[in-house]
């Protein structure tokens, strides 16, 4: 009976080790703190109505960013823990972690950084920017988009839930290599948490991707043909198409693994006719495209940044777009380079090796278009450009490493070594994350109505790039010395320890960079009057997102723009055709259905993890019911009349005029770090001295 109700769940699953107690307490503490603040400030309703149930892609984009930033810290703590262990654990010292725990940490680190940080930021940017860039008021399917977001949140909760229940995450590496992840070698619930966190968020990704493909294909402003679309939108379109192609494959693969683990089937097991090599194939058929799903929008960001700050249109739009399309096509046909060492024939290996080489051709084309764009430009070096310059260096190094790895005989020596790990961190940090940060600095005024502090932004960039070198140059070297990845301990005689220590120090420098990014946002907020963006166009932008106010009204455009050329907004500005008239607007209504479905999906996953089958089935039925009810819901939109729009616009403009300088706005410059520390210090002292909490 107990087993029926609780499955495998019992008292032992409750937190009892330092990390599970710590993790649970930490998360609970944060939630309680948030709850107190919300209650005190009477913000629950506001949170629910204005944010959580919102179908506005701009708000969803910001929510992706907030959760992604939170997960960046969470995954960053993992990274520091990994590197601390490796810095300590040489020779007779075994560090402070057991092998198993260490392996769980790097698995969680990889999952979190790829799925819940990089994907979140990419989706955040796409949500906010793509509709604006194509001159759309909303999405093809706002509901599908919120559902995608909430399923992502379901995945986030799932990946952290092991702290409270089970105390164990997968110890298999971020792609749960089979047969290591089979029930034979990983009997605990860790791999099940892995399966369900990816499954839930992965389905969300598919839905989000379908929505954005439809949005980009169907909702563009009149006159904007595909060949006039902004480059970030192009990158996003390629990325989302790839996601729609490969994410269902991930879903299917995860289901097969789930059947193996929970119902005793033999798809990927070593015995009973299973085939782990099949799993390796399937997971990389999805896994390689996945890294380009992240990269393509980042390419788009860099194209926007380079053109805007060089004040020139892109050199050869056609080549740039064809480059992104080329990357998309090749990225679907190279997956085998992740396991040249599994024993395929020389012909097969050579084929996939050559395909991998070819992917570098369109990639290089992109770089060349950027160079030619900068040439004969007037380049302004605000923070986004700095991230671009950093990106080029790290990405080139990482690309060279990738191409060496693409040569099968070379890969035999470098596969699974730290050289490989250095390659993909060069790409994911130096490519994807730097792209995201460039995009964040670029579009932040659009998100909030004020620019980001330039000074502290630069410091954070310097920390990132220095930390990157300290961490990843030694990593390349260690790979060449024969260090395999994922070691929780190594011999003192290898002489690797100084390099591992350098990696750890680099990690701390990067962490400082992250801290500075938070400081940058805080400092900008304190000076938001000085940094405010009244025009909606702080950088002399070229594309339509700059044609609307910062922040844009929830209907984006009072008038849907007519597009005649590429760089549509630039053309309008020079032709003086930026106009203001008002018209009726149809707006989608808020919905909480996405939240309910995601909650059900979470409980279904939780039920499957713990073999609580009634819970899983009830939840699945619940999710389906909500989905159907929502489907019959006709009344999901309302109309804003032209008069109302006019009133709203006038109110917005009037309100913007009322903005007054804050306490820290009376300086000529962006606040420096010193000043920010001073302010924070005074603030804290004030709280303590005057016992401010009494009045809260």
């Amino acid at each position: 009976m107990k087993e029926f109700f609780l499955g495998r769940l019992n008292m032992h699953a409750l937190p009892h080790e330092w990390f599970s107690v710590g993790g649970t307490a930490g998360f609970m503490g944060l939630f309680i703190l948030a709850a107190i603040i919300l209650t005190r400030t009477k913000r629950w309703k506001w949170l629910w109505n204005d944010w959580l149930t919102s179908v506005d892609p701009k708000k969803i984009g910001i929510m992706y960013f907030i959760v992604g930033a939170f997960m960046l810290v969470r995954g960053g703590v993992d990274a520091i823990m990994i590197w601390l262990q490796q810095a300590l654990s040489s020779g007779s010292s075994h560090g402070y972690l057991t092998a198993d725990h260490f392996q769980q940490i790097f698995t969680a680190h990889g999952n979190i950084m790829v799925f819940f940080v990089a994907m979140a930021f990419i989706f955040g940017l796409i949500n906010y920017i793509v509709p604006l860039q194509i001159g759309a008021r909303d999405l093809a399917s706002p509901f599908m988009n919120t559902l995608g977001f909430w399923l992502y949140i379901g995945g986030v909760v799932m990946v952290n839930m092991f702290f409270a229940f089970g105390g164990e995450y997968a110890a298999t590496g971020w792609l749960a290599a089979s047969p290591l992840s089979s029930i034979q070698f990983s009997p605990g619930v860790g791999v099940d948490y892995w399966i369900w966190s990816l499954q839930i968020s992965g389905i969300g990704t598919t839905l989000g991707a379908i929505n954005f493909i439809m949005t980009i294909l169907k909702m563009r402003a009149p006159g904007m043909s595909l060949w006039k679309m902004p480059l970030f939108t192009w990158g996003s379109l390629c990325s989302m198409i790839m996601a729609v192609i490969v994410f269902p494959l991930l879903t299917a693969t995860l289901f097969l693994m789930f059947f193996d683990r929970s119902f005793g089937t033999h798809f990927f097991t070593t015995t009973g006719g299973g085939d782990p090599m099949m799993y390796t194939n399937l997971i990389w058929m999805w896994g390689h495209p996945e890294v380009y799903i992240l990269m393509l929008p980042a390419f788009g960001v860099f194209s926007e940044v380079v053109t805007t700050f060089s004040r020139k249109s892109i050199a050869s739009y056609t080549s740039n777009v064809l480059g992104m399309i080329g990357v998309t096509l090749f990225a679907l046909s190279v997956w085998l380079h992740h396991f040249f060492t599994m024993g395929a024939s020389a012909d097969v290996n050579a084929f996939f090796g050559v395909m991998t080489l070819f992917i570098a051709i369109p990639t290089s084309v992109l770089v060349f278009t950027w160079i030619a764009t900068m040439r004969k430009g007037r380049i302004r070096y605000d923070t986004p450009m700095l991230w671009f310059l950093g990106f080029i260096a790290t990405f080139t190094i990482g690309g060279i490493a990738g191409l060496i790895l693409a040569v099968p005989p070379a890969d035999f020596q470098l596969h699974n070594s730290l050289f490989l790990v250095a390659h993909f961190h060069s790409m994911v940090i130096g490519g994807v994350l730097f792209g995201i940060f460039a995009g964040l600095n670029f579009w932040f005024p659009k998100f909030t109505g004020f620019r980001l502090n330039d000074k502290i932004g630069r410091y954070s960039f310097y920390c990132w790039i220095t930390g990157f070198c300290l961490s990843f140059i030694p990593m390349y070297i260690l790979g060449l010395m024969g260090a395999t990845r994922r070691l929780d301990h190594y011999d003192g005689a290898t002489g690797w320890q100084p390099l591992y220590i350098s990696m750890f120090i680099g990690g701390l420098v990067i962490a400082t960079g992250v801290a500075l990014q938070f400081a940058q946002i805080l400092a900008s907020y304190l000076q938001k009057y000085r940094l405010r963006d009244e025009t909606g166009d702080p950088w002399d932008g070229r594309t339509l997102e700059w044609a609307v106010a910062s922040r844009p009204p929830y209907y984006n455009f009072t008038v849907i723009p007519e597009v005649t050329t590429r760089d549509a907004f630039m053309a309008m500005k020079s032709a003086g055709t930026v106009k203001t008239v008002y018209e009726d607007i149809i707006i989608p209504k808020n919905t909480a259905a996405g939240i309910y479905i995601a909650i059900f999906a979470f409980f279904a996953g939780f039920g499957f993890v713990w073999h609580i089958m009634w819970l899983a089935f009830v939840s699945i039925i619940g999710a389906i019911v909500v989905f159907i009810i929502r489907g019959f819901h006709d009344d999901s939109e309302y109309t804003l009349t032209a008069a109302e729009v006019e009133k709203l616009e006038k109110a917005r403009i009037a309100k913007a005029k009322l903005a007054v300088p804050g306490k820290y706005d009376h300086t000529d410059e962006d606040m420096g770090l010193q000043q920010l520390i001073g302010i924070s210090y005074t603030f804290l002292i004030d709280i303590v001295k005057n016992k401010r909490w009494r009045t809260w």
Binding site: D100, M277, A344, F358, I361, I371, I392
Partner: protein, 303 residues
């Protein structure tokens, strides 16, 4: 926009700072490493295959740097020259890049990638791990079984076995037949002698290596195998043929044999197993072990 003017010189200053910091860091790291005289195992080959592979790595790197370094230099030069404050530089917002430009930016990388392919395809065939190494000496066959968390080596011709230690004669091609028993995928790797290959249950992957120089070389699994992963190491000792022969004799005289009980004992997960020699093995051991998994594969990519 005017408030942004004048950042150019700051940029210059910072770019210099950034680049010099980058170079200094890199130098420091390299100096530290080189001074400590460490073993760059991958680029410090002690075997025929490893040297060929290291040559492939170096050649590919050379080709890639040939295109990458000029690209980077041009990019940073352009970034510097067309900075906002340099009003002498040409500014052409409507610049029209002709067809030649498009052709060029596709042709240049295509050329270099074809060059890489030209290196890669023959090298892939030449260094196919199952390719026999031609030599005057008769090849030595060693069967390797990956277990949790140890490596078991069987010498079918010598009828001896070892755990976490393998000795081979120099200048003799060695044919490692890699498999695994009750173990996750492992990857058999001796960086000084040559690249790795997976050891998987129910499969035999053949890896040919040849040691040029005598010495003790570190071997391990490059693929994650679970809790005992980092301890799953072995020593590969390359020695002269005479030395090898006397070692085989020593092994034959060792007190213990790899009986089926002993094998069952080994099969239980254990960590940090000491190097062990076994005098006798069951000649059928490897095939019996494989037969356990019969029917569980035979599809996929194995040839």
């Amino acid at each position: 926009m005017s408030k942004h003017v004048g950042k150019g010189h700051i940029f210059l200053h910072r770019l210099k700072f950034g680049i010099s910091a980058f170079i200094v860091l890199e130098l420091i790291i390299f100096v530290v490493v080189l001074l400590s005289g460490k073993n760059f195992a991958v680029l410090n080959p002690k075997g025929f295959i490893a040297s060929a592979q290291s040559n492939v790595i170096l050649l590919s790197a050379a080709i890639l740097f040939t295109i990458a370094i000029p690209t980077l230099v041009i990019l940073y030069f352009v970034a510097w020259k067309y900075r906002e404050t340099n009003t002498h530089a040409e500014y052409d917002p409507q610049e029209n890049h002709g067809k030649m430009f498009d052709f060029g930016i596709w042709a240049i990388p295509s050329f270099f990638m074809l060059l890489m392919a030209f290196v890669m395809i023959p090298a892939t065939h030449r260094l196919d791990p199952r390719q026999q190494i031609s030599s005057y000496n008769k090849p030595l066959t060693i069967q390797v079984i990956a277990m949790r968390w140890k490596w078991v080596f069987l010498y079918p011709d010598q009828n001896i076995a070892t755990v976490n230690f393998v000795q081979i004669p120099t200048d003799t091609p060695v044919e490692f037949e890699l498999s695994a028993d009750e173990s996750p995928m492992s990857s058999f790797w001796i960086p000084n002698l040559g690249g790795q290959l997976y050891a998987m249950t129910g499969h035999v992957n053949t890896l040919h290596l040849l040691a040029d120089k005598p010495g003790d070389y570190a071997g391990s699994t490059a693929e994650l195998t679970g809790a005992g992963f980092s301890g799953m190491k072995f020593v590969a000792r390359a020695s002269s043929q005479d030395n090898f022969d006397s070692w085989v004799n020593e092994a034959k005289n060792s007190p213990s044999a790899l009986t089926s009980e002993e094998y069952a004992h080994l099969l239980k997960p254990s960590e940090h197993n000491a190097a062990t020699l076994y005098a006798k093995t069951d000649p059928e051991l490897f095939s019996t072990m494989l037969a356990k998994y019969a029917g569980s594969h035979d599809h996929g990519m194995h040839e």
